[in-house]
Symmetry: C2
Subunit: 285 residues, 2 copies
């Protein structure tokens, strides 16, 4: 605890031009704890799914207090490398893609993104994804897409919102590429862009039906292994989306509005405690 900083104090003759003085790297112990465990996981000594040692044991092994260990564990937890199962225990895990997407989405929604920027991104991605999907799709994803189409048809008939199903359809296409990179690349933008549908629907007759038809065409091509067709239909679908947006009277150059405020509930759902503290201190300053 006495890393006395006696670095560049010496003679005042010249400002050492050659000396580099790369910034000293240091970190509080809780961060070292985090990295120690992270490393165990990344280098395979702790395999995905393995239960982490007890807090007490970790503390003991790392030579720090349990509180410090716990702070490190929080970092690990939030980084996605540790995950709670069955309520309490922590298990080593891979950061989940949807988790990453969600965060990216939030970051995006807080930054400046225009409808047009997002749209052009997806116009580049989605057709290519559809083409690749046509080459690689498996039976399982086909089934999932069929189910999605069925539910979309229902929703359209019933006049319900199709936004969620729309998002799911496109996500499934991305999944069909079999490559996590595709999903990761498109998800945040799609989640921000496609809900714009919600605002168009009331203004455009038949937009639900059009969407369904488009999805069906895309699906048929994908299932048939017709990459080119899938790409073409998807591109039309995306173009159509933009057209609808403009027709409905929106300005594609405007920033997209952050959809969905941060909800409260969504915790890791464990039975037990309901509130942190029923009500003890109000807040006095």
């Amino acid at each position: 605890m006495d890393g006395t900083a006696e670095a560049g104090a010496g003679d005042a003759a010249r400002e050492g031009a050659a000396a580099v003085f790369s910034a000293i790297e240091a970190a509080p112990a809780y961060r070292l704890v985090f990295h120690a465990i992270e490393r165990e996981i990344l280098e395979g000594r702790l395999r995905i799914g393995d239960r982490l040692p007890t807090e007490t044991e970790l503390a003991h092994r790392l030579g720090v207090h349990r509180s410090t260990t716990r702070e490190g564990l929080r970092l690990l937890e939030q980084s996605g490398l540790a995950e709670r199962r069955e309520g309490r225990r922590l298990y080593a895990s891979l950061p989940r893609t949807d988790d990453l997407s969600e965060r990216a989405q939030r970051a995006l929604s807080l930054s400046r993104v225009s409808f047009d920027g997002l749209w052009r991104l997806l116009r580049a991605l989605e057709p290519a994804a559809a083409a690749l999907a046509a080459e690689r799709i498996d039976a399982e994803t086909i089934a999932a897409l069929e189910a999605n189409l069925a539910r979309t048809a229902e929703a359209v008939d019933a006049g319900r919102s199709v936004t969620q199903l729309d998002l799911e359809f496109h996500a499934l296409i991305a999944d069909a590429t079999g490559d996590a990179a595709w999903r990761l690349a498109r998800e945040p933008s799609a989640a921000l862009l496609f809900p714009a549908n919600e605002r168009m629907l009331p203004r455009l007759a038949q937009s639900g039906a059009r969407l369904l038809t488009a999805h069906r065409n895309i699906f048929d091509a994908v299932r048939a292994g017709d990459g080119e067709g899938a790409e073409r239909w998807m591109r039309r679908h995306i173009d159509d989306f933009r057209r609808g947006y403009v027709l409905a009277g929106f300005d594609p150059d405007e920033p997209v509005s952050p959809v969905g405020a941060p909800e409260n509930g969504n915790e890791t759902r464990r039975p037990g405690r309901i509130e942190a503290r029923p009500g003890e201190q109000g807040g006095d300053g």
Copy 2:
């Protein structure tokens, strides 16, 4: 403290069919602390850049102990919504894109991605990004690109590796779109794919020079506002990249090897402490 869990214990007469029993959402207090602060930031009561209250004050206001507060702060920290500046204090911040990218990249590298999948993703993205960049680029990014090209030329002359500069060039193009979504979408994949260059270089004569020429062509088109040209040159560049990969004798269907093990240093660099504890407990089991 005493949220005694007396949920569904009652009479065993009938299994309430009508009752819904939506899963009880509960969370430990440290998580509630996290969400409380998160919410303050997301809803604008704490603005980006604002200094967070003292740990003690937070603890007091939220009615929990400082230790608990600190655990919540670790979550916040790792989520990117709080950031240390000047060493200690925590400030509200936006999750940084490069941070998100880095995590996404790690997640990708741990999952199954093939050269081909990544390549096709970037083949869809990069040309479109270049086209958009040509419409929107500003003087600053032009300057950055020029600097990048100059350094690339140097590196090629000197026979040094151009991988980092290559990555930077493409990232700058994405930046030039002015839309964070583009950078976020391509960064993780690019970071995994482009370093493959490193392996090709020794096997292919002139590949550095080819890369430089391609970058120059792309840049010229972008600067001239020639979207179509930029797109075309970029597509060629990406195609060329794949051709080189195959020529060099690699199989595009193989999974990409995780590049770069998790390094040690990269902390938040704060002067002061060098080690958590110089050497107090060795580890006895």
